[in-house]
């Protein structure tokens, strides 16, 4: 690093001592057409021949070599801060070593035997590639079917801002044989049973009440409670500030999005009710090997997100930061009551730390203004690198669908697995078997889970990162006007009246909706979601610090963390 820096500075030196030639002087010596051509090639070129980088026409507090050195110091300070944070110890739950047949580990897309246990040599090839990091070793991982593994080498990438992706950690996932794991699996079976039940009907729905009762009574269920009990109001939610209040679906998933001169209405293409997949063992096994025998059956009517199946399909095909870019557009645009059909956004006030709040002469734009907000909101999705490291290089947790296969094989007495009684004896499992004749976890997507390990969750990490940025940019205490809920058919929106809902609470709920939507689809566990929201938050805070250090105006970011702690980044 030191050596490289000297090289850069040495290269710039002749410009300082040589003939100082302004850009105007340089180009003035050329014909007009030649000047245009030269300009086209020069825009992205940091140093032109002839030392013209020492141009004298710029003004400002730091110019030329002084600016270059200040920019260099800023990068060095950024790297020093990253280095000073050190490396955490990464710990898994130990299941991979505990079970030589790898029944507690991710193995999708590798070859499996008739019970769905992974080929040991194939698993070892995966471990070898992860250990060496050589691209050729990843090419040598055997495939069990058509699908390929999803981007394991992303976990080896460096990054250019915030901390190194390996400097974050997630606690060990629940162990395969634990009551905690069983509790999460019981919740997933209930989610499958309730996929076609409207969220707004949970309080009166007998099945939702049974779900809440059984989850309350489990020996180690760690979802949110009210008065010590899981209730229809806390069912399938996360205990984040505001996320237990009001309707299940965040306002930011329902309100129309002003999109420049265009407008995005939020009705979506969803799936027909009762269209679960992988409920037969042969289909399940084919999917574990990486094949996709089934196909989706779509509802011809577009609907607002009203139930678990809608939410599952929304998070099936969403475009990385789509939920948060929508939220950013809704937050930033002023209301336009007379404009049909958009009516504008909600005009959320800026974060109290924004230095332009008190300015009489300037407004923010590329820094502290609209373009800054949009860029920041989307670019933190780079958080995927850190979670891909956790997935592939630390935890390799099995997907819930694979656990469902173990439950099925165990209950059919084809093999004996150390599965906790809380799930084997659960009402949820009994009801799934009654309804579908299987102990497998019914899945929303024909292909089941993606081909990467469960823990942490990519969606939840990006959700945690993007929502943290939005809370840092806007005033999270602002109350959202004109609250809405979908009508029963999901074909329109009806006004919602109830206690006020704040921007911060509905952003937390949005993150929870996206993270939990993946659980409802059957592809993630509760711990994947909640621990990855926290991971994303930590990544975003590190990036916010780097951005702040790069700005002339000063300012700060004030927000409430997922655990309820208020913080100021300055």
């Amino acid at each position: 690093m030191e050596h490289d820096a000297k090289l850069v500075l040495a290269k710039a030196e002749p410009a300082r001592e040589g003939r100082v030639l302004s850009r105007r002087g340089f180009l003035g010596g050329l014909g007009g057409a030649a000047a245009v051509a030269a300009a086209g090639g020069a825009v992205l070129e940091p140093m032109l021949p002839g030392g013209s980088r020492a141009a004298a026409d710029e003004i400002g507090p730091l110019t030329g070599q002084d600016r270059l050195e200040a920019a260099y110091r800023n990068r060095i300070n950024q790297a020093d801060s990253m280095f000073a944070e050190g490396m955490p110890v990464q710990s898994s739950n130990g299941d991979e070593d505990l079970y030589p047949n790898r029944i507690g580990s991710y193995s999708k897309g590798l070859p499996h035997d008739a019970l769905g246990e992974v080929d040991p040599d194939a698993y070892q090839a995966l471990l070898d590639a992860l250990s060496s990091g050589h691209p050729a070793d990843f090419e040598a991982i055997p495939r069990g079917g058509a699908r390929k593994q999803t981007n394991p080498q992303a976990g080896l990438a460096f990054d250019t801002e915030g901390k190194d992706p390996h400097q974050f950690t997630q606690p060990p996932a629940p162990a395969f044989a634990s009551a905690w794991e069983a509790g999460e699996m019981v919740e997933l079976y209930w989610m499958a049973l309730l996929r076609d039940t409207r969220f707004t009907s949970y309080p009166s729905n007998p099945l939702a009440r049974r779900a809440a009762q059984e989850l309350s009574a489990l020996s180690d269920f760690r979802g949110p409670r009210i008065g010590g009990q899981v209730t229809p109001q806390t069912l399938f939610r996360d205990d984040l500030p505001g996320a237990l209040e009001g309707p299940y679906v965040s306002q930011f998933m329902l309100k129309g999005t002003p999109y420049g001169a265009e407008y995005v209405e939020r009705r979506m293409r969803t799936l027909l009710p009762g269209t679960d997949h992988m409920t037969h063992f042969g289909e399940w096994l084919a999917v574990q090997n990486g094949d996709v025998p089934g196909s989706a059956r779509y509802d011809p009517v577009r609907r607002f997100v009203r139930n678990g199946r809608d939410l599952s399909e929304w998070v099936h095909v969403d475009v990385l930061f789509q939920a948060y870019f929508n939220a950013c557009l809704i937050l930033g645009a002023p209301p336009e009551p007379g404009s049909r059909p958009t009516r504008g956004g909600i005009g959320c006030p800026l974060n109290p730390g924004n230095p332009y709040l008190g300015s009489a002469t300037q407004e923010g734009f590329g820094t502290w203004g609209g373009p800054f907000f949009k860029t920041m909101t989307c670019e933190v999705a780079r958080a995927l690198k850190a979670v891909w490291f956790q997935k592939w290089f630390v935890h390799r947790r099995l997907r819930p669908e694979a656990f469902g296969g173990r439950v099925h094989v165990h209950r059919r007495r084809l093999a004996t697995y150390p599965i906790h009684g809380d799930v084997l004896d659960s009402e949820a499992l009994r009801r799934v078997h009654q309804k579908l004749g299987t102990y497998l976890l019914p899945m929303v997507f024909p292909e089941g889970s993606p081909t990467h390990p469960a823990y942490g969750a990519g969606h939840a990490t990006v959700a945690g990162a993007c929502v943290t940025i939005l809370k840092a940019l806007f005033d999270e205490t602002f109350e959202i006007p004109d609250l809405v809920v979908p009508n029963p058919a999901g074909t329109g929106l009806a006004p919602y009246s109830g206690p006020p809902l704040t921007v911060g609470g509905e952003l937390n709920k949005l993150a929870s909706n996206v993270a939990t939507g993946r659980n409802i689809a059957g592809v993630h566990w509760r711990t994947d979601a909640i621990e990855s929201l926290k991971l994303g938050e930590a990544i975003a805070i590190a990036i916010l610090r780097d951005h702040l250090a790069a700005l002339n105006e000063g300012g700060s970011f004030e927000l409430t963390r997922f655990d309820g702690r208020p913080i100021v980044i300055s």
């Binding site: 507090p61 110019t63 270059l68 200040a70 002469t361 407004e363 734009f365 780097d546």
Partner: protein, 85 residues
């Protein structure tokens, strides 16, 4: 304004007189560092056409980078002809 741009002090930007309701758009963004790629000041653009140049006149007439402008444009842009601009 020039004093504020030269000093880079946020307070100096606050001292710029405004002529009406609108504020200036984010001049301090030009002083920011960045976290990746080159420093924002390491890029250059060629000087734009000079105010008094035929090139500038050609652009004002809406014909893009024409230097020199075709003779018909030169005729149109000659300021001695009343009503030509």
């Amino acid at each position: 304004m020039l004093d504020a741009l030269d000093s880079g002090h946020p307070a100096d930007f606050e001292a710029i007189p405004l002529g009406g309701a609108r504020k200036l758009t984010n001049p301090q963004a030009g002083l920011a560092f960045d976290t990746e790629g080159n420093d924002p000041h390491q890029f250059a653009q060629p000087a734009p056409p000079a105010f008094a140049s035929a090139w500038e006149a050609g652009e004002a007439a809406g014909k893009g980078n024409l230097d020199p402008p075709p003779s018909c444009l030169r005729y149109l842009l000659t300021p001695t002809i009343p009503g030509s601009i």
